[in-house]
């Protein structure tokens, strides 16, 4: 990708704004589980110069819960954020692919709730269309 700054470290160079934020996240079985609303970065303290020897690290993706602060500013309570650890990410392409099933992340609770309380109770809800 010619329009990105050159970087010496090996591996894929990703622009957070361009390649991570607002990307679709797929679980191990290619099932969509959410969009990246925000990211959490470790290693930045206000008022302290960044140390080139230990650069900041992306720790978590925040899915489907950090969008209002991004639009209007402010900080939501940390307990309300649905996090996916960066270590779960397997690949970043036109979607971000995870190596674990969606059910192991908080962000899918509303999907599971609607499934268990509404959709699966309607006749035919668990059958494939014919």
């Amino acid at each position: 990708m010619p329009d990105l700054p050159q970087h010496e470290s090996p591996g894929q160079v990703l622009d957070v704004e361009l390649h991570i934020l607002d990307r679709q996240v797929l679980d191990r079985d290619d099932v969509p589980i959410g969009h990246v609303d925000n990211i959490e970065v470790d290693g930045i303290e206000p008022g302290r110069e960044l140390d080139p020897a230990s650069p900041p690290v992306v720790t978590n993706l925040v899915l489907n819960s950090g969008i209002l602060p991004r639009m209007f500013g402010g900080r939501p309570p940390a307990s309300r954020l649905h996090r996916v650890p960066w270590s779960a990410v397997r690949n970043v392409g036109t979607a971000i692919e995870l190596g674990e099933p969606g059910a192991s992340f908080d962000v899918t609770w509303s999907e599971r709730w609607v499934r268990d309380h509404v959709i699966a109770r309607i006749p035919g809800g668990r059958h494939a269309p014919e």
């Binding site: 969509p32 036109t94 499934r115 309607i122 014919e130």
Partner: protein, 409 residues
């Protein structure tokens, strides 16, 4: 052989699926008031929808990403959410018009009040979305919708003065009874009827549903480039019928019965039966498409699991969204609002919302990360940019014209 069959089937369903309540009503209204003088708009609109569908189909086939995933990704949360709000509103409005259209057509067939048909029609739409496989749904609705070809047959049987229709089409001036403002208002309505945003959500999501790959690009291109223009021709036949029968008699179209009246005159009882079948199939098919499109848009924007290729329990929020949209459509219709009026507004609002979805697709169709080597060529980009300008002008002019003409009155 199987491949040719797939192409032929795709083209036929594209023709049958092109015409919906918006095209039926708007073309008849325009034909009855302006003759064929707005025929050029249908041509412009068909070229536009071909461009738009072709680009979004290509993006879906190669990247596997449907329209609203891209809108969210490219426009970010703020502009994306505004876009989602507008698109879902218009799609639900169109869904309301289509369900109303099914009820009106069934009323023509049975004489039973549309208010009784509305809940039944909506339930049938839900049942198909819930249980029927995507490909079966699309093919059956599209093929039955082909019954609307009877508009073309009727036009021939009516034996209009072809030279006169041609002069009208080439004149491009408003009818003496109309003002230039209403002429341009209906030009935008007709443009919106041909280039409805839901068609693109549906087309690109359909590509993902049917698991298109690079190899399917040729088929999808043929469907679009042959099917849609033939669908446009069908639209022109609807306008032609109205221009031949309704215009000289000074009959205004404010009900579905006037839209199909020329067919009854030209092709008699049998023609009427066929056209009613066609209208039911076309509006029912479009109700399926708009219902699904509302679900696609909301699910893709939020990153939910979606698609008819999954069991409903595996795309729970997607199915719940569609149930809610159908309930909203039924409630709106049960207030007794005239579905024809909803249709007339929905096509104009479609034109207003069009730039919101067109621009992100145009950008991504040029992004090698999404489409690899299949980025837009120079010619494609030149034409698409002209259309971007056209779409913007139509969107900006729509509201002032709506106010000035009192919505085309």
């Amino acid at each position: 052989m199987k491949k040719y069959f797939a192409v032929a089937l795709g083209i036929l369903t594209a023709i049958g699926g092109f015409v919906d309540i918006g095209d039926l009503v708007t073309n008849a209204v325009v034909g009855s008031r302006f003759g064929m003088s707005l025929a050029w708009v249908v041509v412009v609109g068909v070229v536009g929808i071909c461009l738009f569908a072709q680009m979004s189909g290509r993006v879906a086939a190669i990247s596997g990403r449907a329209t609203f995933e891209i809108i969210r990704e490219r426009l970010g949360p703020r502009a994306g959410a505004a876009n989602l709000g507008a698109s879902v509103l218009i799609t639900v409005m169109t869904l309301t018009a289509e369900v109303g259209g099914v009820a009106l057509a069934l009323q023509l067939a049975s004489g039973v009040q549309p208010l009784l048909w509305i809940p039944l029609a909506a339930f049938a739409v839900w049942l198909v979305i819930w249980r029927v496989k995507f490909s079966v749904m699309e093919n059956v609705a599209g093929l039955l919708g082909l019954a609307l070809v009877v508009f073309g047959v009727s036009l021939f049987l009516l034996g209009p003065d072809w030279g006169d229709l041609k002069t009208q089409a080439l004149q491009q001036t408003s009818h003496p009874r109309e003002t230039p403002l209403t002429y341009w208002y209906y030009a935008i309505a007709l443009f919106g009827a041909a280039m409805t945003p839901y068609e693109v959500f549906f087309f690109s999501s359909g590509g993902v549903e049917e698991k298109w790959t690079e190899e399917d690009l040729v088929t999808s291109r043929a469907n679009v480039l042959v099917g849609f223009p033939l669908g446009g021709l069908l639209s022109l036949c609807i306008a032609g019928c109205a221009a031949t029968v309704l215009l000289p008699r000074g009959i205004d179209v404010d009900a579905l019965s006037q839209t199909v009246f020329p067919v009854a005159m030209g092709a008699g009882q049998l023609g009427l039966a066929v056209v009613i079948l066609g209208v039911v199939a076309a509006t029912f098919g479009a109700a399926l498409e708009t219902g699904l499109s509302a679900g696609y848009a909301l699910a893709q924007f939020n990153g939910w699991s979606w698609g008819k290729f999954r069991r409903p329990a595996e795309a729970a929020r997607f199915h719940l969204t569609m149930i809610i949209c159908l309930v909203v459509a039924v409630l709106v219709l049960l207030t007794g609002v005239d579905p024809i009026l909803v249709t007339e507004y929905s096509v104009v609002f479609s034109a207003i919302a069009l730039p919101l979805t067109y621009l992100p697709i145009l950008v991504v169709a040029n992004d090698p990360q999404y489409v690899g080597e299949h980025v837009n060529g120079r010619l494609m980009n030149a034409v698409s940019t002209v259309y971007l300008a056209l779409i913007l002008v139509a969107a900006i002019a729509a509201i002032p014209l709506m106010i000035l003409t009192k919505a085309g009155a």
